[in-house]
């Protein structure tokens, strides 16, 4: 397989086994984190179905994504009629508070004017019946699912946030990036422990990890309330996780520009240093010291680092997935002596190498950074780097088998295990879980390979 990329030094033309999905998928996921919202794709039926399958396979929850079901006539005459019918039908069937539109490559290429179409739709719709409509431009050719996620979050901010909105202003708006529902629930606990009132944008902690209650909820309960997004404009501060944003798609900057909310930004809080930084932000915003509960979790995490260090030092990991997640995990690995020999993503924001520059591994020249890469690139690099383990989504499972090394599943998609919604990555507790899983994967591998098969390792 490695011959596949022998292009004599020229960058490969084709993408083989992509390490990314497309923009509208990320947008639909973000819309799922708004209370009462239904995601709506402006494009052909297949896009909605493929994305639903991808998200349902990962979250194991219903993900209804409506669609304007483009046909050949639409491609010629434009999508106005389909948008109108589609929005009306969704309104009738789902009674949503909001419809979140994500465009597809087809809609963007025929040049549909979304603002005009929505204006026409509003004119044709009886007042009082119409849900709020928010639209994001997310053509597949412009970026990855992570870019689409950020585009939708920015669209929500730009459409809804108001400075000086009535009601009590939140202490902090948290733009959390693509993390798991369990991560979001934990973040809410932390924010509450600091006594901070908050807006999490988006918040799919409940909508994409529902308790079974014997009902198919048309729109799953939970999500950030629309009024809370409006109120975000008068929040005292925002914190944005991540750095890999395309121009104009940093949600904290969008909120600053629109409403003047002071913006703080940091990488995903994975590992002790990044989690410390996050809690320092919260200390400053709340004026409170970190509660004992969290200091204790930090202590237990350090205890685990110490217990595990001999199994970890010098081990070589390949980390892949969304750029911000990769940077977060790699920075954590750097704390425990695991070398993130390959850091790869299908994204191409251009900032990954810079974000990793503070790590010991990078300073020693031990990290190969692959942007805009696919699983053939990652496979070749992993093989050359003699990797001991993979850390990433389930799309690396074939590679793990070929190299005969363990795969620790993080991020998305995880299509081959139960519990993707509950994988934790963030804060002391998320890091604790990652650390346990990584060291145990390595120990298990050593045990399987050891001839006597000792009971103690």
């Amino acid at each position: 397989m490695s011959a596949a990329h022998d292009t004599g030094g020229a960058p490969a033309a084709a993408t083989q086994n992509a390490c990314k999905a497309c923009m509208p998928l990320g947008a639909c996921m973000a819309y799922r984190g708004v209370e009462g919202a239904v995601p709506f794709l402006h494009g052909p039926q297949g896009c909605a179905t493929y994305m639903r399958r991808f998200l349902i396979g990962h979250f194991r929850e219903p993900v209804d994504i409506a669609c304007s079901s483009f046909s050949e006539e639409t491609a010629i005459f434009g999508g106005a009629a389909d948008i109108h019918t589609g929005l009306a039908n969704v309104t009738r069937a789902y009674h949503p508070a909001m419809i979140g539109i994500a465009t597809t490559c087809l809609a963007e290429t025929i040049g549909d004017d979304m603002t005009m179409m929505l204006h026409q739709h509003a004119e044709k719709t009886e007042e009082g019946n119409a849900p709020l409509v928010v639209a994001a431009a997310t053509p597949s050719y412009s970026g990855t699912h992570a870019d689409g996620f950020h585009a939708a979050v920015c669209a929500l901010v730009n459409a809804l946030a108001e400075s000086g909105a009535c009601g009590e202003a939140a202490d902090v708006v948290c733009f959390t990036n693509l993390v798991s529902p369990a991560d979001l629930r934990y973040l809410k606990d932390i924010l509450a422990d600091f006594g901070l009132s908050y807006v999490l944008l988006p918040d799919y902690s409940e909508t994409l990890d529902r308790p079974t209650a014997g009902e198919y909820e048309k729109i799953p309960k939970g999500g950030v309330p629309i009024d809370a997004i409006r109120g975000a404009g008068s929040a005292r501060a925002s914190i944005t996780f991540g750095a890999a944003f395309r121009p104009g798609q940093h949600p904290g900057t969008a909120l600053l520009d629109k409403c003047g909310v002071p913006a703080r930004s940091m990488g995903l809080p994975v590992g002790i240093r990044a989690s410390d930084l996050f809690l320092r932000h919260l200390e400053e915003l709340s004026g409170r010291a970190t509660p004992e509960k969290h200091t204790a979790e930090r202590g237990r995490l350090i205890d685990t680092y110490v217990d595990a260090h001999k199994y970890l030092y010098g081990r070589r990991a390949v980390v892949y997935g969304e750029e911000d997640l990769v940077v977060g995990i790699a920075s954590f690995l750097d704390e425990i002596g695991v070398v993130p020999v390959v850091c790869a993503s299908g994204g191409r924001s251009g900032g990954m190498a810079q974000a990793l520059s503070g790590t010991t591994a990078m300073q020693r020249g031990g990290i190969q950074v692959l942007e805009d890469s696919d699983f053939v690139d990652i496979g070749e690099a992993a093989e050359a780097a003699k990797a001991d383990l993979l850390i990433g989504n389930s799309r690396g499972v074939g590679l793990a088998r070929r190299l005969d090394i363990p795969l620790v599943r993080v991020g998305m998609p995880v299509h081959d295990r139960i519990g993707a919604q509950r994988i934790q990555h963030l804060g002391y507790r998320g890091t604790q879980s990652l650390c346990d899983r990584i060291v145990n994967a390595l120990i298990a591998r050593d045990q399987e390979r050891s001839e006597p098969g000792y009971m103690t390792m």
Partner: protein
Amino acid sequence: MKPQETQKPAANSVLDQRKRQVVTKGDALFDIACETKSVAGSVSQRACVFCGSRVVLYPLADALHLVHGPIGCASYTWDIRGALSSGPQLHRMSFSTDLSEMDIILGGEKQLYRCLVELIDAYRPKAAFVYSTCIVGLIGDDVEAVCAQVSREKGLSVIPVFSEGFAGTKKDGYKAACDALGRLLGTGSTEGIVPHAINLLGEFNLAGETWLIKDYYRRMGVDVVATVTGDGRIDDIRRMHGAALNVVQCSGSVMHLAKRLKEQFGQPYIRVSYFGVEDTAKALYDVAEHFGDAAMMDRARALVREEVAALMPELMCIKKDLAGKRAAVYVGGSFKAFSLVRALRLLGMGTVLAGSQTGTKEDYRELEKICDPGTVIVDDTNPLELCAFLKEKGCDLLIGGVKERPIAHKLGLGFCDHNHERKKSLAGFVGMLNFAREVQATVMSPVWQFVPRPSGAAERTP
């Protein structure tokens, strides 16, 4: 359960534009609307033209499958089918031209050319298929010309598949796939093909099912020349016109090819199904009958006797658990729905709802014939409709694909995957036993006792 009393609410959940696509057996006039574009905003479970082409051609394991378009279409179809190959595994790779903004502005022909040359050099496939996605139709790439050029330069068939997603339904994608295969027909030597030789059409070797069926026919004394497309090979397609008969399963997807083979080469075809005991036996007998060979028919009968005897004891045991339970069936192609209704009946189970994404009027008439009175028959349904009928009809099990799974689970119903992503063999006699075991494991699991019943739902069968 008094279905009459709860009839209204479920029917109310059907959008006005879809009223004619939902019918109940026993209605005075059975006239279902189907084969239409999905209603905008209806949250259809359907896919697109590209999906139809991709699923039909996917199992051809020694071909390069290059998706021409932005990344999504290729990313979502990477290694999602359980279609096995006994040799090359090239079909399990996902190749995309991954068009960027500049390609959309300037055209994607150069990128397509570069990708084709690079991938053909790297993998040395027997042929290459280039799938046009939505956007390629719009930006006006001359895919045919690029394919012809690479074909000349590299000395292999490079075949365009006109599968722009918006240009029809999944069914049009099946036709586009058949048209693509049509370019290979009659291009190979038929030397050495015996008189009692057939082709299997519409059999995709999910979990090795093609191998199982080939073995049945081999035991009857019948050779298989080519399978479209399970464990498929390009050279087999080239010589498939030399077989005496086309045996067509999943007729929705490959009927177009069977008809073409009949027109072009005078090859007759029969329609079969390998799901369930009755249908599998019939599939074997029909082939023996076609050849008019008494000895072959005897061998088929002996085979069926032997296989059925082997599975019956366990099947009857399972039936004790399942008798009287009720199922709903919503699948891609309606031919599969017929088989499932019959297979469930063999397990003592009734079917309260049956439907498909892509059935024709004739399909639905046939489905109506084999269903019990009161069965709801749906075309191109959606989560909310499905939910309303599942609740109203009070069933124990939904059979469908991954997208339908959470619908069943949230309602506290069992779910069985009968889609092309499954990894379990459900074909033939062995498959019937696997199916029965799965239904048993699903319906009899103790977990359902903890799931609250939906309000207003009919009682679960005791």
